[in-house]
Amino acid sequence: MSATPLLEVRHLKKSFPIRRGWNRKVVGAVAAVDDVSFTIREGETLGLVGESGCGKTTTARCILRAMAPTSGEILFRAADGRVVDLAPLSHTGLRPLRPQIQLIFQDPFGSLNPRMTIFDNVGEPLLVNGLRDRRARLDRVADLLELTGLRPEHMHRFPHAFSGGQRQRIGIARALATEPRLVVADEPVSALDVSVQAQVLNLLLELQKRLHLTLLFVAHDLAVVKHISDHVAVMYVGQLVELATAEAIFRHPRHPYTAALMRAVPVPDPLAPSGDVALAGEVANPANPPAGCYFHPRCPFVVETCRTQTPPLREIEDGHVVRCHRADELALTGVGAEPRRTV
């Protein structure tokens, strides 16, 4: 709790219009992100999890200001110590802040320009930000490649010469080129094979320690999130439903959705209990969410209040926030922190 907040998101909302007909008339709106608030302190990692369509990527894009939020505040502590709200800033206003917030993409095949060498790919953010001296750029790119576990002498090759894991390392090197303070990683390992995924996760953990990076890690895989995060935020249909430290949320989830999500992950052990269908039904349509709690049609603990009243996000324990009417009375089981059976 000692570190200062680097990023504070307050009541972030982003809705997209639904258009119909020949004149593209607006007939409604999808609330992709619906009142999301969280804080990331310097040097920490927040894991943002949820199923497809829950708004986790939209949240990340709003923070990157790849899109403008509909409302809310995105307070970012810039390198000079000022706290700036990114939400209302214009393109020119964002310009000096862009190098400080960088992105690692999901797809290591689509995110590198195939016609540019690794040197050009990784060096481009440097060039854009005013490092015109080619010699200096070569040195910097060589350092970055070494930092991410690649061989600097390969920098004049093209992306096709590298495997998926190596390309993801190149993507990480490029994200780190401008010495960002905040790195947003959107599903950075989901396109990788298991054996390579572990390498990239370890690399991110090590880099974070070494460079004192702050990470927003967006993913759908709970096991991956647990490996990298200090805090975990769970989203459902555009809303934040639970936020706590990784330890607390996995051991004692307080929201039925979080607990169900954990139980739904198949455990790589044939003796582990299975067949526990965590949830019936499907994720609600964000264009037409149910009344009351968005989760109530699937919730096994639903009561009358849930059908009519939207639960507020409240702090149930120190640093543990949850959006559930019955969070106090429910005793939900999480997944333990006992050491895994040794192979």
Partner: protein, 345 residues
């Protein structure tokens, strides 16, 4: 033991590319017994999907089955070698879809978008009628339709009478995969091939689909070949597991043995490197050094030797180990256990 329903023997599928020869599947053998769920697990490029395509004889050129046998045991009579049948001939068409059905990874791409899902199932039912119902009057449209409604109900699709007329793009991912399962089961196949059936689906829906498959398998006694890269899914679904790497079987055995007493260094390393929800947060994972080699640059000898912590100098890089027993049901291809048993390089 009973005679296997499907026996794959030393299967080799090679792709003749302009850049060179890719041995996508290079000497794969395993058995599937009636009613058994066999999991094939491996990372990308290991040949698991090509093996599946070879069984169904849908390997696309420039790929070709260049060796081995795929013996399928029909209801009566002698086993048929599927590799000997013409891919477009009537004999194979009578088996494909009727006796051996496929649940593909992407139901969106597998269904036609211009016909309703029900229509496509009715078509399959009528096409394969003589396989799943050898005698009796010809199937009427109304009968086929009511059967499809029943199938939809059995795979847990709510409002089946309405959903039968929906197009695949009107259904959600979970419903689409359920409809695909209904279609695969429509002709009562004895072998179901599920190729990453839940990879494109969210985790809570995945749990539902896996449960459905488990339930249907128990009820009908269908044998399933379950192909996936997810070790968690394999552990929960399969009784017998085949671990593949770069076109070869590294290890196979009963699921408990593979997960609790893995013998091959690759299986061990793979199991260690999976992120788990059961560890303390922010811990480093044990990793496998290096990355999967490019298919054109496959190493000589054992394909895993450049990444193997236990590689024996002068042995593993020279010859490829043969798949030999290392336990009651377990087989491994590794010189650590069988120093002298190599296959042709």
């Amino acid at each position: 033991m009973t005679t296997p329903l499907l026996r794959v023997e030393d299967l080799r599928v090679h792709f003749f590319l302009d850049e060179g020869l890719v041995r996508a599947v290079d000497g794969v053998s395993f058995d599937v017994h009636p009613g058994q769920v066999v999991g094939i697990v491996g990372e990308s490029g290991c040949g698991k999907s090509v093996t599946m395509k070879a069984i169904l004889q849908i390997v696309e050129p420039p790929g070709r089955i260049v060796g081995g046998r795929i013996l399928f045991q029909p209801d009566s009579g002698a086993a048929v070698d599927l590799t000997r049948l013409s891919p477009k001939g009537p004999a194979l068409r009578a088996i494909r879809g009727a006796e051996i059905a496929l649940i593909p990874q992407e139901p969106m791409a597998a269904f036609s978008p211009v016909h309703s899902v029900g229509e496509q199932i009715i078509e399959a039912l009528k096409l394969h009628e003589r396989q799943w119902r050898p005698s009796g009057p010809r199937l009427s449209r109304a009968e086929a339709r009511s059967m499809t409604v029943d199938l939809f109900r059995s795979v847990g699709i709510s409002m089946p009478e309405e959903r039968i007329d929906a197009y695949s793009w009107q259904l959600s991912g979970g419903l689409r995969q359920r409809a695909m399962i209904a279609m695969a089961l429509s002709c009562r196949p004895r072998l179901l091939i599920a190729d990453e059936p839940t990879t494109a689906i969210d985790v809570t829906t995945q749990a539902q689909i896996l449960n459905l498959l488990r339930d249907l398998q128990r009820r009908h006694g269908t044998a399933i070949v379950f192909i996936t890269h997810d070790l968690g899914v394999i552990a929960q679904m399969a009784r017998y597991v085949v671990v593949m790497y770069l076109g070869r079987v590294m290890e196979q055995g009963a699921v408990e043995e593979i997960f609790h007493a893995p013998k091959h260094p690759y299986t061990r390393a793979l199991l260690r490197s999976i992120p788990s929800v059961n560890v303390a947060p922010r811990t480093l994972l044990p990793t496998i050094a290096g990355s999967i080699p490019h298919p054109l640059g496959r190493p000589r000898g054992c394909p895993f030797h450049p990444r193997c912590p236990d590689a024996i100098p002068g042995v593993c890089a020279e010859r490829a180990p043969a798949l030999r027993p290392v336990g009651s049901t377990q087989l491994a291809s590794c010189f650590l256990y069988h120093r002298d048993e190599a296959v042709e390089p």
